[in-house]
């Protein structure tokens, strides 16, 4: 089962990346969270026909990815997850929006084509933005920031522990799976009739583990409240970055850089 193994390594390599020391990494998690959300919202707010206006937004990942040291190959897998939906929407637009927007020589560019490109742009940009966030901010920091923004501690602890035990559970599922396939050579996957006991076993083991973890937590003084510890200081760099980022974002939303450059050339 490639997914089990692959995903553990995937999460691991991302978290290791997230612990880097680039200027982007050192930004306050709140800043990274806020700018990512603002970016995605702005990108998504473009109407389908505005393809050229959206182009300039590629500057953000183009500049930040190398500064933060994020390899582009990480993008591939993530696009795979996001594309099916987008392709379906885009294809449907190609089909339904046949009205021509403008004509280039003898080729008529329909609104459908424009919106297809626009959807692809939005897909790429939104996936890149989240990738940058995940690759520069450790999951625990994101959770801690959400807690500071008001998310109940019950949930933050839950998040952190789910994340922690992912690996243990996945390894356990994997070894159970291996044992299963070794005894059923005719299939590379679990047969439906066996899913009940397979998952059932996994549930019971998880419950036992949960019990043990709870006891261990009580033994170290746990009283239901999760203290996440150290704070991030908000520095001048954080304020400066936020200001610049949001201004550029706002500017590019209304100022079409591409058309400007195109006009210049002519």
């Amino acid at each position: 089962m490639p997914t089990l193994r692959g995903s553990v390594n995937g999460i691991d390599s991302l978290e290791r990346l997230a612990m880097g020391k680039s200027p982007i990494h050192r930004l306050h998690p709140a800043v990274k969270l806020a700018t990512t959300i603002a970016y995605v919202i702005t990108v998504l707010s473009f109407p389908s026909r505005d393809v050229s206006g959206l182009m300039a937004f590629i500057f953000y990942p183009a500049i930040i990815m190398p500064i933060a040291g994020i390899p582009y190959r990480l993008l591939m897998g993530r696009l795979m997850a996001a594309l099916p939906f987008s392709l379906m929407g885009g294809a449907s637009n190609l089909f339904f929006l046949r009205e021509p927007a403008f004509v280039l020589g003898s080729f008529s560019v329909t609104f459908g084509m424009l919106s297809f490109v626009s959807i692809m742009q939005k897909t790429l940009l939104s996936v890149l933005a989240v990738l940058i966030l995940a690759a520069t901010t450790p999951f625990a920091d994101i959770t801690r920031q959400l807690t500071r923004l008001g998310m109940p501690r019950v949930i933050s602890l839950q998040f952190v522990m789910t994340y922690r035990y992912l690996f243990a559970l996945i390894s356990e599922a994997y070894s159970m799976f291996t044992a299963y396939t070794l005894r059923s050579p005719q299939t590379r996957m679990i047969q439906m009739k066996d899913m009940g006991s397979f998952l059932g076993q996994l549930v019971l083991r998880s419950f036992d583990r949960g019990e043990n973890v709870y006891q261990a937590m009580k033994c170290r003084g746990f009283q239901g409240v999760y203290n996440s510890g150290a704070r991030f200081a908000f520095r001048f760099a954080d304020a400066a970055y936020s200001l610049v980022f949001l201004s550029v974002l706002f500017a590019l939303r209304f100022f079409n850089l591409s058309v400007f450059l195109g006009e210049l050339v002519r």
Binding site: A168, V213, A216, R220, G229
Partner: protein, 234 residues
């Protein structure tokens, strides 16, 4: 420091009339290292869990420094008695090692700077400060044991309870753990199948058989009594 256990009776569960522990009585003084031996099911883990308040006895009492343990004083007890569970994975529940070590002190309201000091001291003492930022699930078996131990030592307990600390450890990690334990000042009660560990580290041994204390005394003497050991399933 004195830990006293008097006439402890623990049932398996509400419906089962059999007892997991029967009339267990002993005491532990400062700096004493005691091995807890017994066959599987003799009640070693149950005894440790009772001492730390996870299992509630039917009758009998556990007192530390003359303060009897009740439901209300459990928190106090647990700040003095630290327990290392059989499976360190169940005990390392924070993503990073530092976060996990900090978990205990944070629950007792220790300030962040002091936590940092204590954590660094403990990690250095155990020789794992280079693993400070490591993800807990990425640690090796031996490293996990030490990490779990760090999380307990940082709370500055007077008594250390350990459940099968050398299981799943290779020769080298085992040696390292024994060396470290030898250097710790705390009183220890170590449940183990590792007879060699008992003789190397612990001057005194308590032998359990079917929930009862069969023998309590000098380790060498008890280990030399082959007939007794055989009777107790060892």
């Amino acid at each position: 420091m004195k830990l006293e256990v008097v006439n402890l009776n623990v049932k398996y569960d509400a419906e089962d009339a059999r007892r997991a522990l029967r009339g267990v009585t002993f005491s532990l003084s400062d700096g004493e290292r005691v091995a807890l031996l017994g066959a599987n099911g003799a009640g070693k883990s149950t005894l440790l869990l009772t001492l730390v308040g996870v299992v509630h006895p039917e009758s009998g009492e556990v007192a530390i420094d003359n303060a009897i343990t009740t439901k209300d004083t459990l928190r106090h007890l647990r700040s003095k008695v630290g327990m290392a569970f059989q499976n360190p994975d169940d005990q390392l529940f924070m993503p990073s090692l530092y976060e996990d070590v900090a978990f205990g002190p944070r629950n007792y309201g220790v300030s962040e700077p002091e936590i940092a000091d204590r954590a660094n001291a403990v990690l250095t003492q155990l020789g794992i400060s280079h693993l400070r930022e490591r993800m807990t699930h990425r640690l090796s078996g031996g490293e996990k044991r030490l990490a779990a131990l760090a999380g307990i030592l940082v709370m500055e307990p007077s008594v250390l309870l350990m459940d099968e600390p050398t299981s799943f450890l290779d020769g080298r990690s085992r040696r390292r753990l024994i060396e470290i334990l030898r250097g710790l000042p705390q009183a220890m009660l170590i449940a183990t199948h590792d007879i060699a560990l008992a003789s190397e580290l612990c001057g005194r041994t308590i032998l359990l058989q079917e929930g009862q204390v069969r023998a309590d005394g000098d380790t060498k003497t008890i280990l030399a009594d082959a007939a007794l050991l055989d009777e107790c399933g060892l």
